[in-house]
């Protein structure tokens, strides 16, 4: 009987009032309130971030051991190696601050993606060799459980550098250094060149150096995404924001020769959120400047370069953005599948792209022709006047070509000697640089990341000695000129 009464009783009266309907007319969003309460209770449970009062999930954490300014391939490489080389799991807390998560202007995504060992400096060669072995074993280094393996789309076709009469001797000595370091490079005379690559016009070429192994080009976007995925799985925190201020403290100290020097230490990094005035002060121990083309601004925020010119305090970071164009064209009778990345005596370069007869290439402008780096607009006249004539001279088949598209990207150009800046600043003691590679940052990123991580964790370079790349060379005037910059 009771059983019959209860459902009967449910049918009418007070008990029938369903949630959301109340006497009096106004409706309370009962379901919404219940879900909000559920969310708050869930956020108290262990393993979730506690957002009881204010949602701060978009802000970076308040404390971090290392803050890496710039989330391109160099910044992520430093983050990866910091996590790989730390002495205990979870010992170092790393935060990567990237202004633009779409990487629309970052040099990494816009890069041609070449890797070669044909440099004149032994350190550059060693860095490229290590990076080649890193890319070859990328699915061991960047393996993440349950994630598909990375396909870098590496083309092992090599680089072919051409030298005129006056550069031939320099090329020979460079190749000797490269072979000593372990790169597999072969020298070719114009006859051998014509034999191997019949589409090439050897007029004006005295010598050519051809990389046989570990050289070619790959997809930089894939490397970036792979690094990002691995680094996130290792526990590195990411934040989308812009660094606007460094809060530092100074200390006056005496050197061994009793000269007074002011040493600065950065304590806080102010990270401003995108499209808002909100900022978060992040207390940090070490700051790594991997901001690429904008590294000089970050350095200026830290007070590097504020002083009388000619002194160590007054030495600015000589890295500035330089715009470079890359053009994609179609040429039906062009060079075949075996085409390496050819770098002409005039500085023009091109390589094949894909199976259809598409090629891409460009040329570095001279100092006088430098385009304005304020935007990434492409100048098509530059191709007509400055690139095409050289290409057509070198490869007669390129006289009939049709430009399909073009893009522009920045080089983080080191105006001092076009080589990277790696290591700590002598005065701002906890800022480390990993920038200024002037167009070969992508191919040296794994090696440089490891070197900076060793510097941060162990205090010195262990595997590859990059002491010639320290900041102090700008003050001392010691240029380490790299001759083979494309």
């Amino acid at each position: 009987m009771i059983r019959r009464v209860l459902p009967h009783g449910m049918g009418r009266g007070l008990l029938t009032r369903r949630p959301g309907t109340r006497r009096g007319g106004f409706s309370l969003d009962w379901d919404g309130k219940v879900s909000e309460i559920k969310k708050k209770i869930k956020s108290i449970l262990p393993g979730r971030s506690c957002d009881l009062l204010q949602d701060t999930s978009h802000l970076p954490p308040e404390h971090s051991d290392v803050v890496i300014v710039g989330g391109g391939v160099l910044g992520l490489s430093v983050a990866y190696w910091l996590k790989k080389l730390e002495s205990r799991r979870g010992a170092i807390r790393v935060l990567v601050v990237e202004r633009d998560h779409t990487y629309s202007q970052a040099s990494t995504g816009l890069s041609v993606g070449g890797i070669c060992q044909q440099f004149s400096l032994p350190e550059n060669i060693q860095l490229s060799l290590f990076s080649a072995s890193f890319l070859r074993n990328i699915n061991e280094y960047l393996a993440v459980v349950d994630a598909p393996p990375l396909d870098l789309r590496f083309n092992p076709s090599g680089y072919l550098l051409l030298a005129s009469e006056k550069d031939a001797a320099a090329m020979e000595s460079n190749v000797k250094v490269q072979r000593q370091e372990g790169a597999k490079v072969s020298l070719m005379s114009p006859d051998q060149l014509r034999n191997k690559f019949p589409w090439i016009n050897t007029e004006g070429v005295a010598l050519a150096s051809y990389g046989m192994e570990d050289e070619g080009w790959f997809d930089p976007w894939c490397l970036l995404q792979g690094l990002r995925r691995k680094v996130q799985s290792l526990g590195v925190l990411f934040c989308q924001g812009e660094v606007t201020r460094f809060v530092s403290s100074s200390q006056r100290m005496l050197t061994t020769d009793d000269k007074a020097v002011v040493l600065k230490r950065i304590h806080e990094v102010h990270v401003k959120m995108d499209r808002s005035l909100e900022y978060q002060p992040v207390e940090c121990a070490i700051v790594i400047n991997a901001a690429g083309a904008w590294s000089a601004q970050i350095a200026a925020l830290a007070g590097i370069g504020e002083g009388p010119p000619g002194t160590l305090q007054g030495t600015k970071l000589p890295v500035e953005p330089r715009k470079r164009y890359v053009y994609v064209w179609h040429c039906p009778q062009g060079p075949g599948l075996e085409t390496p990345l050819v770098a002409d005596t005039s500085g023009a370069y091109f390589r094949r792209e894909g199976l259809g007869s598409n090629y891409l290439g460009g040329r570095s402008p001279t100092e006088q022709e430098e385009p304005d780096p304020a935007n990434l607009e492409v100048d098509h006249d530059f191709f007509q006047d400055k690139v095409w004539p050289h290409l057509a001279l070198r490869v007669p088949a390129f006289e009939t070509l049709k430009v399909q598209s073009a893009w522009a990207g920045y080089y983080d150009y080191n105006t001092f000697d076009q080589n990277g800046v790696v290591g700590p600043h002598p005065l701002v003691v906890n800022m480390y640089f990993a920038t200024g590679f002037s167009g070969h940052g992508l191919q040296q990123a794994p090696g440089v990341g490891r070197a900076v991580a060793e510097m941060v964790l162990k205090g010195r370079f262990q595997t590859i000695d990059l002491s010639p790349f320290l900041f102090t060379r700008f003050y001392l005037g010691e240029k380490i000129q790299e001759n083979n910059i494309i």
């Binding site: 092992p156 070619g216 199976l355």
Partner: protein
């Protein structure tokens, strides 16, 4: 249970190839027709994934097992420098291939193959001054480092790398030292070889026969065949014939590499 997980991952990484190709995967993966194991597999995979996402220990264990698998392949591909000093390059190279499960043919001698237990006759140590003429390394775990041993065989005429799951584009770029002697090369069924690796075969100017059938990573096989034929004008490029459909692994024994192609 961990074996299933790892073989899962191997399937994921070789996902472009039908499971039948990789003969090492045993057990339920070979039963292509059965329905129940598939569903079981999927459930096991998601439970494992759930555990991995929530517990650091499970993730670390799986990571360790993955690294151990990779380490095993590296162990197999060590460079036999001591053997080379003792018995010369041909002996060391032959030993490496036979250890991996491949077959070797010295000049004017018969093929030496390991039996199904992996044992092979040791008499080739007596004639290791004789150059090795042909190598059949099908279904072996040779990778980039292992090619060190292979590249010592300077008079190699025929090389078969069919269905080698660790041979990729980087390995192909390393074959140029064999350019003077290599006349026959077979890359059929290698899941990691793409048209980008085939582009660096142009160093092998003495190549007369190249087999590039069933390369799942090549994006456009017909076009690739045409471009490779243009690149190697003296070579017969075999392989792209989609009318046959999927070939099954065990039937495709490399009988054609029994004798070297006359120059």
């Amino acid at each position: 249970m961990w074996d299933l997980v790892l073989e899962d991952r191997r399937i994921n990484s070789l996902r472009l190839v039908a499971p039948m190709w990789n003969g090492r995967i045993r057990g339920i993966h070979r039963l292509g027709g059965a329905v129940a194991p598939e569903g079981n597999q999927k459930k096991k995979r998601t439970i494992l994934q759930f555990l991995t996402n929530y517990f650091y220990d499970v993730e670390a264990l799986r990571d360790y097992l993955l690294q151990r698998e990779m380490y095993k392949v590296h162990e197999k591909n060590r460079s036999y420098t001591w053997l080379e000093k003792q018995h010369g390059p041909y002996g060391a190279g032959a030993f490496f291939i036979l250890k991996q499960g491949g077959a070797v043919k010295f000049r004017d001698k018969e093929w030496i193959r390991p039996d199904k237990y992996g044992h092979f006759s040791q008499e080739f140590w007596n004639f290791c001054e004789v150059p090795v003429e042909a190598v059949d390394a099908s279904d072996c775990d040779i990778n980039y480092e292992g090619l060190d041993n292979l590249l010592r065989l300077k008079e190699l005429q025929s090389l078969s790398l069919q269905r080698c799951s660790h041979v990729d584009d980087w390995c192909l770029s390393r074959l140029y030292p064999l350019a003077d002697s290599l006349q026959e090369l077979s890359l059929a069924g290698c899941p990691r070889v793409s048209e980008r690796g085939l582009a660096c075969l142009h160093h092998l100017q003495n190549l007369r026969r190249l087999d590039i059938s069933d390369l799942p990573a090549v994006s456009n096989p017909g076009l690739t065949q045409i471009l490779v034929e243009e690149m190697l004008p003296n070579c017969e490029v075999v392989g792209v014939d989609w009318a046959e459909g999927l070939k099954s692994g065990p039937e495709e024994q490399p009988q054609d590499t029994a004798s070297p192609v006359p120059a």
